[in-house]
Amino acid sequence: MRLSVNHTTTYRYSEPTRRIIQLLRVTPSSFQGQTVLSWRIDVDCDVRLREGRDGFGNVTHMLYVDQPVQVLTLAVSGRVLTEDNAGVVRAVPGDLPHQVFLRETPLTAAGNALDWLAMDISEEGGAKLDILHGLNRRIHDRMRFDVAATGVGTSAEDAFGAGHGVCQDFAHIFIAVARRLGIPARYVSGHLFRRDGAHQQPAAHAWVEAFVDDLGWVAFDPTNGISTDDAYLRVACGLDYREAAPVVGARSGGGTEELSVEVAVHQARSQSQWQVQN
């Protein structure tokens, strides 16, 4: 699929800032099944951007603003070709050995409820891939999507206990249980082309990848209860949301801040170019 993305993040400050420093993970890499055709970051004020790559292999940009601003708009846009590989993710640049992704983090720590879920699933048995599909379905069936119920600091255990949350919470729950089962799992942030026509979204999407021997990393989207396909554009990964979040920042001055995000993912019409590229 040929996807076009416009991901706009706007910060409004109640007073002018003195300095802003941000770490951005908003730029996808090309790998088997995902080809970045063009990508750019536009900022509406005088900034310096420094590109790098973090330990997970994510493309990063440091953003520095050292004059007073009251509005900061990051407009990220680009075009990407995607293929449907039944969720299998291969040849990601800078990828780390899968053992790294067995570690519990505060956001993905399993408590009693998730321990029970893990035990229940392991008692059912089956091949690893089937177990992961089962986990994906269970989270989707059990959890209700609700943008108002949780925040960026909500742990997997708390979200599961509450029974509702956003894609980030669904992903953390999946990761917590998979790791409890001894399966390496990681958080993925990215964008989803909605086939139901909801092309405008108030946030980026998030899903997971789990490591299956012989296959490698396989992506699941517990929010939608499916494996990923060519509607998914992978941007960054980490042990949890904290390490894959699109924007992490610090500032001095500025008073209070108001954040708004708009994401538009469309399917580009030109089929001919897609065929040429393949």
């Binding site: 300095r19 330990g55 440091m62 520095y64 780390l96 790294v100 610090a250």
Partner: protein, 484 residues
């Protein structure tokens, strides 16, 4: 207590009859100096440390009690030959530590070769993912190591712990010597003692040597968490003696992936940061977001190669207690030599047979948390109560992978002044090993810690330990007055 009588570093096995060869001057000094005079000097030392403000906070107490670490004026002595063997072993080990850290964040050959299990390294909390694939200037990671050694006989030294993150205690090494020179000058006339006050200069040279390429007159700073930290005295002591700025996180800022220090004359570029802040707190954008101690963007500057962090982030993987038991293999792997300094025998409780052995011998063993430090979360079997042993048994069974066990060693003793007169007390030793762009050096000395309670093997200052000066004798030079 261990069954075997401990080796005394002054009296050997003679139980106070006869001092070991080469240590006669100390024996004479102890005979000639009256108990009242020793007592007077001991009190004078304590008063001096109090007026300097060398205190430390005890964690885990309701009020952060400021205490003076007791100082004992009877020094430890290491002969030139003993030091030569020790320092060669230390330098070999630190060379291997740096090679290991470089490898696990780079090519990971030692994991591919199966010398250390991959999951112990990669699944370890101390494996610092943000620095994977990044190499610091000059490929040095653990610039400053404080290697904890214990001794059980004339030629039997063992490494107990490799402190490769932000080891502290070096200010005691220097201040203890200052106090000894003032209070017991006659000892330095009788013994040719190698100086330790060169340490700040060596450290400054080390810092400058690892500056990023292109830094002409590299600016080094010492980053402290602030004066509430238990080691703040040491931070200000070292910064003063090196002639570098002592800064807190709020004094630094990162712009364009470059670190700047704010001064009243504007901002100046910083090339090397000797940071006495743990990895978790150095950059809230990458590590703990609630850290008020660090600098936002510091990791970006580091990854871009624009600043050297001393020690580098991620060195905690080398001194992790779960990795410790593999150190002899790690030394062999990177140096091609047999380790000159052995490890203490260690049972990894993650391995079922070792767990069983540990559970069967809890009353004989020392059991430690792999992720604990400073004598917290530790069981000393021979001195523990039945209830303490049973509590540890339950903890071990619940999470065996968190523990290692070691035999209770008969740690060497040194005569120490106590209420009961001059009696043997157990000691350990922490020498400080520096690695710069041109190699590894060890200052001839270190921190001797002494367990002041009779029979105690726990020397940590937080657990009632004291310190002694550590004399390394000069093999080339005879003792002459005032030559230190």
């Amino acid at each position: 207590m261990a069954a075997r009588p401990a080796f005394d570093e002054l009296w050997g096995a003679s139980a106070g009859e006869e001092v070991r060869a080469g240590f006669e001057p100390l024996g004479e000094w102890l005979r000639e100096t009256s108990a009242a005079e020793l007592d007077r000097r001991q009190h004078a030392a304590e008063a001096a440390f109090r007026s300097l403000g060398i205190t430390f906070n005890v964690y885990g107490e309701d009020e952060a009690a400021e205490r003076i670490i007791p100082f004992d004026i009877i020094p430890r002595i290491l002969s030139a030959g003993e030091w030569a063997r020790l320092s060669a072993g230390l330098e070999q080990r630190v060379h291997a530590i740096n090679a290991f850290v470089d490898d696990v964040y780079g090519a990971r050959k030692i994991l591919a070769d199966g010398v250390v299990p991959a999951d112990i390294v990669l699944g370890n909390e101390q494996f610092c993912v943000p620095v994977a694939g990044a190499r610091p200037p000059h490929g040095v990671y653990a610039h400053i190591c404080g290697i904890d050694l214990v001794r059980t006989g004339p030629d039997e030294f063992y490494v107990l712990e490799d402190n490769a993150r932000t080891p502290s205690g070096v200010s005691y090494m220097i201040e203890n010597r200052e106090a000894m020179l003032r209070l017991c000058p006659e000892l330095f006339e009788r013994l040719a003692v190698r100086p330790v006050d060169t340490y700040p200069e060596l450290l400054r040279d080390t810092l400058q040597s690892v500056a990023p390429d292109g830094a002409v007159q590299p600016r080094c700073v010492l980053l402290t968490p602030g004066h509430y930290n238990s080691a703040f005295y040491e931070h200000s002591f070292l910064a003063n003696n090196m002639g570098i700025e002592l800064v807190e996180g709020r004094d630094l800022e990162v712009d364009d992936d470059i670190v700047w220090m704010r001064t009243i004359d504007g901002r100046v570029r910083v090339d090397v940061i000797y940071r006495r802040i743990d990895d978790a707190f150095i950059d809230p954008l990458v590590f703990r977001p609630d850290s008020m101690l660090g600098v936002s963007g510091l990791m970006a500057a580091y990854l871009a190669g624009n600043v050297t962090l001393v020690n580098a982030p991620g060195t905690g993987i080398a001194d992790d207690k779960a990795i410790y038991s593999y150190m002899p293999d790690i030394v062999r792997y990177y140096t091609g030599e047999e380790p000159r300094l052995p490890n203490v025998e260690t049972w990894r409780c993650r391995e079922p047979a070792s767990l069983q052995y540990t559970l069967d011998h809890l009353d004989e063993l020392v059991v430690k948390l792999v992720d604990g430090s400073g004598g917290y979360g530790m069981l000393v079997g021979p001195t523990a109560s039945r209830a303490e042993i049973e509590a540890f048994r339950a903890a071990l069974i619940a999470q065996p992978q968190r523990y290692i066990a070691q035999p209770t060693l008969a740690l060497s003793t040194i005569p120490t002044i106590t209420d009961k007169g001059i009696v043997p007390r157990h000691v350990d030793f922490r020498p400080f090993v520096l690695t710069g762009s041109s190699g590894v050096t060890t200052v001839p000395g270190g921190l001797t810690r002494v367990a002041l309670r009779e029979g105690s093997l726990v020397v940590n200052s937080s657990q009632g330990g004291g310190t002694k000066d550590s004399f390394v004798l000069d093999g080339e030079r005879a003792a002459t007055a005032g030559s230190t």
